[in-house]
């Protein structure tokens, strides 16, 4: 019995879906060049203290990786729609391993998307030590945990017909309010709201590049809280979905 095989084929399946791959990897790249290239010489974007190519590189990476993690939800919804979840329930595959494969696939997609944006960032002059690249990447990967749970939640809560619009709307909203496309001004109600969103802290990972502290206590608390709440919701949605009255 091998969970590795299951995960490997899950990855293969995802990477073979060409339209999905083009959109989820290509779209953030295109937007990045559209916004960052004209502003490549802006050294302090919207008061963030970061250069436009750096800030937007991480901002669009946040947008892309959020999408990547949530796409596992779309795959769950699609599998539910064709009855595949019932087929899997009569195999020895455990729920834990099923979700593990889904989350790992989301992370693999997210990593590819991150690397592509790093390369794009480098072409626009973003540079930092290897140590900082790694640190920043690790922080982003940690910041994606609540989105993994959100993907599973949506996959079991939303039908395959509506999961596209729901996910698209949600990531757009989280990206804008979290400052992925442009920095949120550091005062006012919008700022207060932004700081309560997991997407905001994902974008803040860019501060590592200039040696800053990206999250601080507040960031960790917000991320921890979202992870806890969404994990509970995902577990509940899964149980409700699979319990047959």
């Amino acid at each position: 019995m091998s969970v590795a095989t299951y995960t490997r084929y899950e990855l293969l399946r995802t990477f073979r879906n060409r339209r999905f791959m083009t959109f989820s990897l290509g779209f953030p790249l295109v937007i990045y060049y559209l916004i960052a290239a004209p502003n490549r010489n802006v050294s302090d974007l919207g008061g963030s203290g970061l250069s436009a190519p750096l800030y937007l590189m991480v901002g669009l990476a946040a947008f892309g990786t959020m999408n990547a993690m949530l796409s596992s939800g779309a795959r769950i919804a699609a599998e539910r729609a064709v009855g595949w979840n019932r087929q899997l329930r009569i195999t020895p595959l455990t729920t834990r391993n099923y979700f593990r494969a889904k989350v790992l696939t989301g992370y693999a997609l997210a990593l590819v998307g991150l690397l592509l944006l790093y390369v794009a960032g480098a072409t626009l002059g973003v540079s930092m030590s290897a140590n900082l690249w790694v640190k920043m990447t690790l922080l982003i990967l940690v910041g994606l945990i609540p989105f993994a749970a959100l993907g599973i939640f949506l996959g079991h809560q939303v039908s395959v017909d509506s999961i596209g619009p729901v996910m698209g709307g949600l990531t757009a909203l989280l990206s804008i309010l979290g400052g992925a496309w442009f920095p949120i001004s550091t005062s006012g109600a919008l700022y207060d709201i932004a700081q309560l969103l997991p997407s905001y802290w994902l974008v803040q990972a860019s501060h590592i590049a200039v040696g800053g502290q990206a999250w601080g206590a507040k960031g960790w608390i917000v991320m921890g809280a979202w992870t806890a709440v969404l994990t509970v919701l995902a577990g509940r949605a899964y149980r409700r979905d699979t319990a047959r009255a």
Binding site: M1, T5, R13, W84, R86, Q87, I90, T91, R244
Partner: protein
């Protein structure tokens, strides 16, 4: 030989499949529907049992409870001494559900390989592809299969688990004649290895040809349980239809093996207790009869006779 290398589960080996007092109701706008009503079935290791009944008889609900996909309102299921979920987790169960398709972006061979990897004692992937006769489309992506090919691939997925109990819910729906043939011969070969097979069908011919035993269901109850010949005698009355202008219905009704005759335009329809005798007599007396068709009476009809009108209950 392909099944000779079977390794049995470590769980109690002499256990049977026992359904005891199994009941299940569903809510519907018209009030509760009693899909399955206190059925008892006991199946021994190695038996091939057909669950026969018309649509809505409760076959799929019974199978869902057997597999642990649906919790019964009442009653118990024991598979070789285990609860359904424990039996599933041990890899002892393989099933082809009535509804459902395949996940996309994998070839059939890849999908069979993934499924094999989930089980402790799978059959070889090539062996299963051979046995189920799906070699010609094993390399094709699952989203490019026809309905019948999808069904056959789903069968391969159920088989590759090398289960002690193979459960098939209306497996031949959407298969063409050739597909059905390949399917049943593979099923037989599998069953011949001492495995237990339970399949649901609404075709009397399938139950008759491929099962050792037929459990007849109607309106959520078991109305008969026995060898196929016995069940066939109960429900298998046939009709002969022939073009015979100006026929003498009284004379036709008196032919050996005929129980009733009826005219439909230029044709006559004969209800038969023995269609072989009837057709010989028909041709001897009425050589001008043509376009002769012999068909089994619909199961629904037979069930109506068997169960009377108690579905009002």
């Amino acid at each position: 030989m392909p099944w000779g290398t079977v390794v049995h589960v470590d769980e109690p080996r002499d256990g049977r499949i026992e359904l005891r007092g199994l009941s299940k109701s569903f809510r519907s706008p018209q009030g509760p529907v009693r899909a399955v009503r206190e059925i008892d079935v006991s199946i021994g290791r190695g038996e091939t049992v057909a669950l026969l009944g018309p649509n809505g008889a409760g076959k799929s609900t019974t199978i869902d409870m057997l597999l642990g996909l649906t919790a019964p309102d009442d009653g118990t299921v024991s598979l070789f001494g285990m609860q359904p979920t424990a039996a599933v987790d041990s890899g002892a169960i393989g099933a082809m559900l009535q509804t459902g398709s395949l996940i996309r972006d994998l070839s059939v061979r890849e999908l069979v390989t993934v499924m094999a990897s989930l089980y402790p004692r799978p059959l070889g992937v090539d062996e299963v592809i051979d046995l189920t006769g799906i070699g010609e489309f094993a390399g094709r992506r699952t989203q490019k299969l026809s309905g019948g090919e999808t069904q056959r691939a789903r069968f391969a997925i159920a088989l590759v688990s090398n289960p002690e109990l193979l459960v098939l819910d209306e497996p031949t729906v959407a298969m063409d004649v050739e597909g059905r043939h390949a399917f049943w011969s593979a099923m037989r070969e599998f069953a011949a290895g001492g495995k237990t097979v339970v399949f649901a069908t609404h075709y009397l011919e399938e139950a008759d040809s491929y099962a050792d035993r037929v459990v007849l269901m109607a309106h959520g109850r078991i109305v008969a349980d026995g060898p196929p010949t016995e069940i066939k005698a109960m429900v298998g009355s046939r009709t002969i239809r022939a073009t015979l202008p100006g026929a003498d219905l009284d004379a036709l009704a008196k032919l050996p093996g005929v129980t009733a005759a009826e005219a439909r335009g230029e044709s006559v329809v004969l209800a038969c207790s023995d269609s072989d005798a009837a057709i010989r007599a028909l041709l001897a007396r009425f050589p001008e009869a043509r376009d002769i068709e012999v068909s089994g009476a619909g199961l629904e009809e037979a069930f109506l006779r068997l169960t009377g009108d108690e579905e009002a209950a």
